[in-house]
Amino acid sequence: MSDHAALGVFLILTLVFPVAAMAAAWLFRVKSAPTREKLLPYECGVDPKGSGWMRFRVNYFLYALVFLVFDIETIFLYPWAVKFQSLGLFAFVEMIVFIAILALGLWYAWKEGALQWY
């Protein structure tokens, strides 16, 4: 029963914490009326020029995708590396197969130009 109580306390804390943070910020803020200059978006101190909507490169997204896949692969590699001695040949071959499948994916992404930055 105490596990569920801990979960309940955790839930209440999760709900209370952001509310408390924002309430504290509101308490200590200067409460004056917002003028036009105060509502401008922040752009490193200079006046914003032009529209805020900008076309950004899709390369960022493609790099993030490929990175994510290999990051998860790394996460799988760590426990295998830790227990490598006791797992034997079967686990070694299995991990080689796993890395080979992902290497095929990397080759595909490379050849199709997903990693090209232009």
């Binding site: 499948i101 095929l104 080759w107 050849k111 199709e112």
Partner: protein, 476 residues
């Protein structure tokens, strides 16, 4: 010692998929057809291997992966569906342009996902197979890269599918929390001892919701029309037939092994869902003018009929589920094959495009009519035998009202199926040229026609096969 050669089909399909992916990078652009032939031959070889090893059973990795005749039946279903789709898509894949060769590898990965799902013995394995299949289908649905309907279908499928996968996984984690194990047989043992807890019921309901999305029963069916209409027609056919069968296979296995009706009574809720699905699926199909959309709504209704068999949960009902899933493959693939031919010839799949097809392409028109009548459940065709099993099981199980609703709605469904036949034979079109079919499409149509008629006239062999497959559940 485990018989790893029984895992040969999955390994072969995986290696084939990776080979096709590598081949798509290495081969020049006119090598793409070679990859199609390689895929088809590979799938035929794996199908042969599964047929030869049909009755060999084994349990791998302490109950996590279970190859039994039930799993083998569904592997047969998926592989034959994939083979038929490969045959019928032979001209349609020209629309994919540069990305044609990767399409074959995604179809192979989807098949692999389904085979894993169906042989899974625990919740995690089900989820792994489900996600492999579903993500492959997200990509396949959006495969017509320049068509906004395809892109819209892919995005909708991704968003709704991801959310229902999340619900499914949450339900599975609640079941794990209440029973202490993810293996189905161990869940059953753990729940025999304990009492029903609200968390367990919530978990089961969420799991039914997640799987209900896959089989498109009524509260979770809204994705079906848009995705079926927007996706490329071979992908729609595979989705309608194999993805639905895989969802049903998993649902039947989980509900009958982990939560058998003796320990937990889920029959009433599934009966109500089945009734709603049959009614809403058939009624919304009536006004449709796009044939792909009509087939999508009709497949919602067919899912309702199959669910009736699960509700009955006796031998007849379960045999009906498997029998109907298999006959559904042949009838539906033929219907979508003819739709694909019309779509390539005319540019869209509206009812007007089917006008005069009886004169312009007599064989496809005849096959389409026969297969639509099979879906409606008219006697000499296989759909009738399937519905006979399903509704007999329901009546034997005491669900007379459900069988009555099913029969009534089957009668109504004949109307919208015959709409297409009316357009083909009585409709007048301005074009008089013959529609030529490539040879693989013809072969696929002949196989589907023979399958539909033979299984309807002589259901014995398939019936015995399904009897063997559902022996798994009579032992529980």
């Amino acid at each position: 010692m485990m018989y790893y050669q029984l895992l040969g089909p999955e390994i072969t399909v995986a290696v084939l998929g990776l080979l096709v992916l590598a081949g798509s990078l290495l081969l020049p652009s006119h090598g793409k057809n070679a990859l199609g032939y390689l895929t088809t031959i590979g799938l035929a070889a794996v199908l042969l291997a599964v047929i030869l090893n049909f009755s060999r059973e084994a349990i791998f990795f302490a109950g996590v992966y279970q190859i039994d005749m039930y799993a083998n039946f569904f592997r047969l279903l998926f592989l034959s569906a994939a083979l038929l789709i490969m045959l019928m898509s032979s001209r349609y894949t020209g629309l994919f342009g540069e990305r044609k060769s990767e399409w074959f590898s995604f179809m192979l990965f989807a098949t692999l996902g389904m085979m894993i799902m169906v042989a899974a013995g625990d919740l995690i394995m089900v989820y792994v197979g489900l996600e492999l299949m579903t993500i492959s289908f997200y990509i396949l649905t959006a495969y017509l890269l320049n068509d906004r309907w395809s892109a819209e279908a892919g995005l909708k499928y991704l968003l709704i599918g991801a959310m229902s996968s999340a619900v499914l996984l949450f339900g599975m984690s609640l079941i794990y929390a209440c029973s202490g194990s993810t293996v189905f047989t161990e869940i059953y043992q753990a729940l025999l001892a304990g009492s029903e807890r609200p968390a367990l019921l919530a978990g089961i309901v969420m799991m039914m919701a997640g799987l209900g999305f896959k089989i498109s029963v009524v509260p979770f069916h809204m994705w079906t029309p848009d995705i079926y209409q927007g996706a490329p027609t071979p992908v729609t056919a595979y989705l309608a037939v194999a993805s639905k069968a895989a969802g049903f296979a998993v649902l039947v296995r989980i509900l009958l092994i982990a939560f058998p009706p003796t320990s937990l009574d889920w029959k009433l809720i599934l009966a109500v869902l089945a009734a709603l699905t049959i009614i809403i699926g058939n009624l919304t199909a009536l006004p449709q003018t796009n044939v792909k959309r009509m087939l999508a709504y009709s497949s919602i209704a067919q899912a309702g009929y199959i669910l009736v068999g699960l509700v009955a949960a006796n031998t007849y009902g379960l045999k009906g589920v498997l029998f109907y899933a298999m006959t559904y493959v042949f009838a539906n693939v033929a219907a979508f094959a003819v739709t694909a031919v019309v779509e390539v010839a005319e540019g869209n799949a509206e009812l007007e495009s089917f006008n005069g097809l009886g004169r312009r392409a007599p064989m496809p028109a005849a096959v389409m009519t026969i297969c639509l009548l099979s879906l409606a459940g008219i006697p000499p065709m296989a759909g009738f035998a399937g519905k006979l099993y399903l509704f007999s099981g329901a009546i034997q199980g005491g669900y007379l009202w459900l069988a009555f609703i099913g029969l009534l709605m089957s009668m109504i469904s004949v109307y919208y199926y015959l709409h297409v036949a009316k357009a083909m034979y009585i409709g007048i079109s301005s074009r008089e040229d013959r529609v030529l079919l490539p040879v693989p499409v013809r072969i696929a149509l002949w196989i589907c026609l023979l399958g539909t008629i033979l299984m309807g006239v002589y259901p014995g062999p398939l019936s015995e096969l399904t009897e063997l497959a559902v022996q798994l559940f009579s032992a529980v």
